[in-house]
């Protein structure tokens, strides 16, 4: 073989690192490109220059517009050469230069000539280049050739045309869609990759036609698919069809499951894995369906190829989130992966094990993880910490091992995010596992002795103040807290002062000593620290009297703001300094839901003249402002709740109307948001006639018509009803939209003088119990439940009859009650046979309500439910049961 060094033009041989491109310069190469213009072309030299140009582009060098144009024009000259190697390089650089439209014209004819050349290599490449640089107009000229190329007997040409079609579909869909007959034919091609490309293009052409996709899948799953890639595509399309059909039918056998299952026995690993993954991702997959997929993934776990192990463990990790039991069979294989060279695989294996492990294996697992933690990056560690937290919640008895583990890693080196994850985990464990409290608090105390993050120190001090005084020996924490006052920055010191005060307020025996410490803080260098110390000394009675702390003071120190902070912030911003003090009770308590009103009217024209201009800052604020600005409704008092808009018309009808129910103590106001979708009409004097015959407790007191409703600018009309005070009256209203319609000349936009009275039937509207319930979450349900006490508890059991699934039953009950699910308990793991759900809210009259639901489902899908309600008012507890009993 020839000596690699014997290159003739090799005159700058670098000993250290030789590269043919050493010292290359853009300017010089552009000069060299002049050889393209030589009358006697030297193909080899030209190829070399093109390679140099491509090298420059590849290194991130950019050409100016002028330079690029110059090179492009020079390159077009090279079409004269018959040298194949050179032609390939010409194709390549044309694609890289991505010429502008006016430049493309220069090469079009040359490329079209190549497209019709006898050489397949020319044809395939010319198609790809031309389709890459062309625009729509040129495409119609070459369309005929492309259609022919798709069914060309040469697979390279056919693939080139098909892949170009896939790209062109994004820019010129209407043209490419005309090729579907040819593409259909290409799907039957015997060449593996042609089939793959044809299938991809055909699916993309038809993707909006569900029936066509379904047919395509049906015919191909029966036929033969040659390439593994095409088979993977088919599997993806099949799961798509399953997904879409699944929404309509809920019956037994899943269509195409057999096909997916048969793919698990395919000879290509790519296909096996694709099928296994598709099965695990089926919605509502049963354990029987899962088993064969898990089995092949388990085999992959012990493969010698890292990629296979990674793919398998990543998929199993996802499965473990929903079906931990299905994955337990793989635990032994997974444990051996903890020592895998590839850290991604090891982390995935550990987190999967933490999800699927049983109580007895925890200790062993933790031992293995301890060795592993020291040599992985923070991002992996956070994943592991989170997995350990959920494991501990699952097996509370193992808290000692897990808590020790967390405290050990807390002492090691790590960044803020990592430390925060650990602290958060410990805090959650202390909250949820009472036994873990003392040791957990102790670990946190140790940590703040040497903590560089102000945020974490503050968080822990606050937490310590709430939990520490309730422990058996609160005095042992004082030292750690007071150390903060001596050693830390102002923020932490201020927090430490607050924490000390909390101990003083709760533990009377500590009070005198706390006062001594607080008095020392009066000489702190920082304002905030001094202020806090003064405030607490006064409120706690630091004048020497050592007695029971007032309830008010305790509330002040420990009471949580029962308003969402975001709402408080808005209210404070809106507050203008005046005689009237800021009233925290006036802050809306409802957690903001999606601001629907904002989404509904983006960039619409201003509303009618008499409608108040609303700029909704948030839905509830906006409603409150809007309603209090209408004199008729201003006497109704404090708005209790506004419902989400309920549509009263089908979508895309002439008039679109939705209604928002505003609940007051004695009244209900219905706000009808109307939109006129007919450009030729102007509606005037729009009202809604509400028939309350099926809502006996309601009587109409006022209505506010909408004077004019032009095309496409929404307006509101209101109807107000009276109802018994504080009572959750329910009922059904039938509604009729009444208005005067005037023809509008769309060219001038002017309406005719005379109008015709008309009416439009709207759908019925119901006021239900849930309308009287505010969704207010509680952060710690267990505490809230305990502190509410069993005095007004009502417990009963109900049969809910046959339900589609447990999740469906749970959702139905939540919706009927209109309460806020707490702690994520609204999510029902699929296939579970029983479920507990925690709900909280505020009933009309500001009565706090907590609900515990326990569901069970048996074989024939009979669902039974136990409902336990605690509230501040016995009547309300009964009312909740009434809702379920009547619903």
């Amino acid at each position: 073989m020839a000596q690699p060094l014997a290159k003739k033009d090799d005159d700058r041989d670098d000993e250290a690192e030789y590269s043919p491109f050493t010292g290359i310069e853009k300017g010089a190469v552009l000069q060299e490109a002049r050889v393209f213009n030589d009358p006697q072309l030297d193909p080899r030299r030209c190829s070399q220059v093109i390679t140099k140009l491509l090298y420059l582009l590849n290194q991130g060098e950019t050409f100016t517009k002028v330079e690029a144009t110059e090179v492009f024009f020079a390159v077009t000259k090279l079409f004269q050469s018959k040298d194949i190697g050179l032609r390939r390089m010409v194709y390549l650089i044309i694609k890289e230069l991505s010429p502008s439209a006016d430049e493309v014209i220069i090469v079009t004819s040359s490329l079209m000539k190549d497209m019709n050349s006898k050489s397949d290599m020319y044809r395939a490449n010319a198609i790809r280049v031309l389709c890459r640089i062309t625009d729509g107009t040129l495409l119609t000229q070459i369309e005929r050739y492309l259609k022919q190329a798709i069914v060309d007997k040469n697979p390279v040409v056919a693939s080139a045309a098909l892949v170009s079609g896939i790209h062109l579909l994004q820019t010129n869909p209407e043209i490419v869609k005309r090729w579907s007959n040819e593409v259909q034919e290409a799907v039957q091609s015997r060449a593996a990759l042609v089939q793959f490309h044809a299938l991809a293009l055909l699916h993309q052409i038809r993707q909006n036609d569900r029936l066509a996709v379904s047919k395509l899948v049906t015919s191909l799953t029966r036929g033969t698919v040659r390439s593994p890639l095409a088979q993977c595509l088919l599997i993806r399309y099949t799961s798509q069809v399953i997904r879409e059909s699944g929404q309509n039918t809920q019956t037994g056998e899943r269509p195409f499951y057999d096909f997916l299952e048969s793919c698990l026995r395919h000879k290509a690993e790519m296909v096996i894995f694709e099928a296994a993954r598709a099965i695990t991702e089926l919605s509502g997959v049963t354990s029987r369906e899962l088993t064969p997929a898990i089995t092949v993934l388990q085999l992959f776990l012990s493969s010698s190829k890292p990629v296979l192990r990674f793919a398998a463990v990543r998929t199993l990790n996802k499965v473990a989130m929903t079906h931990p039991m299905a994955v337990t069979n793989c635990n032994i294989d997974m444990e051996s992966l903890i020592s895998d060279q590839n850290r991604s695989i090891a982390t995935l294996a550990i987190t999967t094990l933490l999800k699927t492990g049983n109580e007895s294996s925890v200790d062993r697992l933790m031992k293995q993880i301890t060795n592993f933690m020291s040599d992985i990056a923070d991002e992996f560690k956070i994943v592991v910490v989170e997995a350990i937290r959920s494991l501990c919640l699952k097996f509370p008895l193992k808290y000692r091992t897990l808590m020790n583990f967390l405290s050990n890693i807390l002492r090691e080196e790590g960044g803020f995010e990592y430390k925060k994850a650990i602290v958060d985990s410990i805090v959650i464990l202390i909250r949820d596992i009472p036994d873990a409290k003392e040791s957990g608090l102790f670990h946190l105390c140790e940590f703040i002795e040497d903590c560089e993050f102000t945020y974490l120190s503050s968080q822990i001090l606050h937490f310590l103040g709430n939990e520490g005084p309730k422990t058996s020996d609160p005095s042992k924490y004082i030292r750690y807290i007071y150390n903060r006052v001596i050693l830390e920055n102002a923020t932490v010191r201020a927090n430490a002062v607050s924490t000390l005060a909390k101990f003083g307020a709760v533990v009377d025996s500590l009070k005198p000593r706390i006062f001594v410490l607080l008095r020392r803080c009066l000489f702190d260098s920082d304002d905030e620290v001094r202020d806090r110390a003064t405030l607490y000394l006064n409120t706690l009675g630091g004048d020497g009297s050592v007695g029971e702390t007032d309830k008010d003071v305790k509330d002040f120190l420990f009471g949580s703001l029962d308003v969402p902070l975001a709402n408080l912030e808005t209210s404070l911003k809106n507050y203008e300094p005046s005689e009237e003090p800021f009233d925290i009770d006036a802050v809306p308590k409802e957690v903001k839901s999606q601001p629907l009103a904002e989404k509904k009217a983006p960039g619409k024209k201003p509303t009618g003249l008499d409608a108040p201009p609303i700029v909704p800052t948030s839905t509830i604020d906006a409603y409150e402002k809007l309603l209090s600005s209408i004199p008729e409704f201003s006497g109704f008092g404090q708005l209790f709740k506004s419902s989400a808009p309920v549509e009263l018309t089908e979508p895309e009808t002439e008039y679109s109307v939705n209604v928002v129910k505003h609940i007051y103590d004695e009244n209900v106001v219905f706000q009808f948001n109307c939109t006129n979708t007919i450009p030729e009409q102007l509606l005037e004097n729009v009202t809604v006639l509400m028939d309350a015959t099926e809502a006996e407790e309601f009587s109409e007191v006022a209505s506010k018509p909408l004077r004019s409703l032009p095309y496409d600018s929404p307006g509101q009309t209101f109807v107000a009803f009276e109802k018994p005070v504080g009572s959750p009256a329910v009922g059904k209203f039938s509604n009729m939209l009444k208005f005067i319609v005037k023809e509008v000349d769309t060219s001038t936009g002017e309406a005719e003088e005379d109008g015709v009275e008309d009416e439009y039937q709207l759908e019925d509207l119901e006021v239900v119990h849930a309308d009287y319930m505010l969704k207010v979450g509680v952060s710690n349900f267990r505490n809230a439940w305990e502190s509410m006490g069993p005095d007004n508890e009502r417990v009963d059991e109900y049969g809910l009859g046959v339900r589609e699934s447990l999740a469906e039953a749970v959702n139905a009950v939540i919706n009927i009650l209109g309460l806020q699910p707490c702690e994520g308990t609204e999510v029902v793991p699929s296939n579970s046979r029983s479920h507990s759900c925690l709900l909280s809210g505020v009933y009309i009259g500001n009565v706090k309500v907590l609900v515990r639901l326990s569901f069970g489902i048996d074989g024939p899908k009979q669902v039974a439910m136990k409902l336990a309600v605690r509230s501040e008012d016995q009547a309300v507890s009964d009312a909740i049961h009434e809702i379920i009993a009547s619903g």
Binding site: P20, Q204, L229
Partner: protein, 184 residues
């Protein structure tokens, strides 16, 4: 427009192919996605991929790693580092097939003498190779013999269709081309 999303999802797509040297510098790279809009973003990605994979042993079997929302499969030989990147829900084995196709095709074209110097000497072949493997993110061909055959078909009679070339012919062509390019 939302349909593009489903297409991208249902069709295997390659986000980039990188060939770096033992210090993380570019030999040849090709991006097919807008995930890295600027040169700096691209270089930063290459740097992080290179540093994170540098110490791993990816010489016998392809290795794999996750970066933000991407999956990278890689394989090293001598002072060359081959990478193929896909989205995080991509079938890892498809990416590996592409990587293996590229890796083997380069090895064929460089006559198993695969190192940085040789790759740069024959950069035209490496670039053509990239061009034949993936077109705009779409997998074009994964069989290394076919890829190498297409790249090396310079001196084949223009009339003879590619499909009629046998592998040995293709290799012969490759060899011939190589000898010539080395002697020039």
């Amino acid at each position: 427009m939302a349909n593009f999303g489903t297409y991208q999802e249902s069709c295997p797509s390659i986000k980039n192919i990188l060939l770096l040297d033992s210090e993380g510098r570019r030999v040849a790279v090709k991006y097919y996605s807008d995930d890295w809009p600027t040169l700096n973003a691209k270089l930063a990605f290459e740097k992080s991929v290179f540093t994170k994979t540098q110490k791993t042993n990816a010489r016998t079997e392809a290795e794999i790693a996750m970066f933000d929302n991407h999956i990278v499969v890689y394989k090293f030989v001598q002072d060359l580092h081959f990478f193929v990147t896909g989205g995080d829900d991509e079938n890892e084995l498809i990416l590996t097939t592409v990587l293996q196709g590229f890796f083997d095709a380069v090895a064929l074209l460089l006559r198993s003498n695969v190192d940085k110097r040789e790759a740069l000497e024959n950069l035209d072949l490496v670039l053509l190779c990239l061009d034949e493997i993936v077109d705009g993110g779409m997998v074009l061909e994964t069989d290394s013999n076919v890829i190498a055959g297409k790249v090396a078909s310079h001196s084949i009679d223009a009339g003879a269709p590619l499909s009629e070339q046998t592998i040995s012919q293709a290799l012969a062509t490759a060899r011939e081309h190589l000898t010539r390019s080395l002697l020039k």
